[in-house]
């Protein structure tokens, strides 16, 4: 479709009745639910410990989730996700482990965040205009490392 101003005749046809130009999927209700708003991991120096969150797909469609860290660099080098990309079938749940591989020289409280991202729908307007709706849900992760680190002399 020509979009230059001299030929401004028909720009966007918003024919709301036609399914062919009006498709919106999967945004009508909450798709993802977390069983808790944050995860706490308790570990000792040198331990491998994990926290766990249950993710519920409460929609009627499979949910393709991408999980990634979006926190401070504080503990990013020794905290990892069990899986960074997965599909939860419609109406199903799955657990996701957040694993802390604690170095021996680390102690105290550390924080980061995990963001769960998924596409919630697509809105197709005129034949040349498409909007995708994406959701990102952030969850706090707190790692508590027991012990006192003492640097070598």
């Amino acid at each position: 479709m020509a979009m230059n101003r001299p030929t401004l005749k028909v720009l966007f046809q918003i024919a709301v009745v036609l399914a062919a130009i009006a498709i919106f999927t999967g945004v009508s209700s909450a798709s993802l639910m977390l069983r808790k708003p944050s995860v706490d991991i308790f570990a000792a120096q040198g331990d491998i410990s994990y926290g766990e969150v249950i993710l519920d797909n409460v929609s009627d469609k499979p949910l393709h989730i991408k999980a990634s860290f979006a926190g401070d660099a504080d503990c990013s080098s020794w905290v990892r996700l069990e899986s960074e990309e997965f599909v939860i079938p419609a109406g199903s749940s799955r657990s996701l482990k957040i694993i802390a591989d604690v170095p021996y020289d680390i102690s105290g409280d550390h924080s980061t965040a995990v963001v769960y991202s998924y596409q919630a729908g697509q809105l197709q307007g005129p034949d040349d205009l498409i909007l995708n709706i994406k959701m990102h849900i952030e969850m706090a992760v707190n790692v508590h490392v027991a012990g006192t680190f003492q640097a070598a002399n």
Partner: protein, 351 residues
Amino acid sequence: MKKSLTLLNILSLIFLAAGPVMAQNTGGIDVGFPPFAVGYTNQSWQFATFEASPALFNISLNDIKSADRTSAVVGNILNGTVPSTRTDVTGKSLAVLNHIEGFKIYPNTASSPFPSIWVKGGASNPESSVHFTGTDSDKFFQQGLTIQAPYYATAEYQWTVYVFADKDILTQTDGTVSGKVLDPRVATMRWFAWAAGGLSPDPNGIPKSAFGFRSPGQASPNMFNIMPIISNSASMSQKKAFLTGTSGASLPELYSAYPQEVGGMSQAAFPADGQIYYNTDRNTQALDNANNMAINGRSQIGLVYASPTGPRSRRNELLHIQFIVLWPDAPIGVSAGQKSCDINIYQRTTQ
């Protein structure tokens, strides 16, 4: 800008809410942490989810809860800003308006936002009579789609909501990995947010709009926000830094065709010259401005809502967001071909 903006295409209303129903503690299961749920406000002014996954350009009676249908009416009447006919709402308290089939938007025309969902209230609303006829046709209020905020069992969580896109919609200008905020005079997507309805509406959580203009003779300015853009290839950490940051990449990119930056001043001081100004009221830390959240400079352009901190953080309320795509009166280089854009809603929870 020298001339009025050309409104090309009003795309969608999106109301985000996390359902309180799902936030109930059920037995031994931890309290749910529901993300956004898109739904509507029903005739009882309560949040409800749609029955299925409706086309938001064309919501039918079957898309709403069966319990709400007898109170509802659907009219396919919208034709720009003026309806082709008025919908009879006699005996109804919920009205859904769709555009007429084959509706087209031309330059220098405007359209009502959609989806357009109206709920009957107790007061008179002049805008209501434009769309409706019949008994109490003047008492309907636009609700669009509705989103409900989470309700937490404990009060130590504050939640914030941001909106961003991967590119500018009409020019298809890509966001960089560090993000950019286009000059508001050339950005082709604007958004609006408000909080209303529900048991505990929290309009104080909505920050002041970032930009606005007042046309000659206009008593008050038209306020709006523009969409911050950041590349899809950016990591979530980069996106978070861009959205929540206070300097650097979150500052506006200026458009070379204009001689100087969009000025900043208090909203009440905008002159009636049609020019776009940055609203410095947005930087005033106040209880009625993002619940006292600090907004430094022109940062956090994508901030939709910030909940209170402390005990009131556990409240739930209804949020509303409306997106508008427009073709501003500027040499922005709209290209031919298909145009796509990812609108991202980012819900943060902090302790």
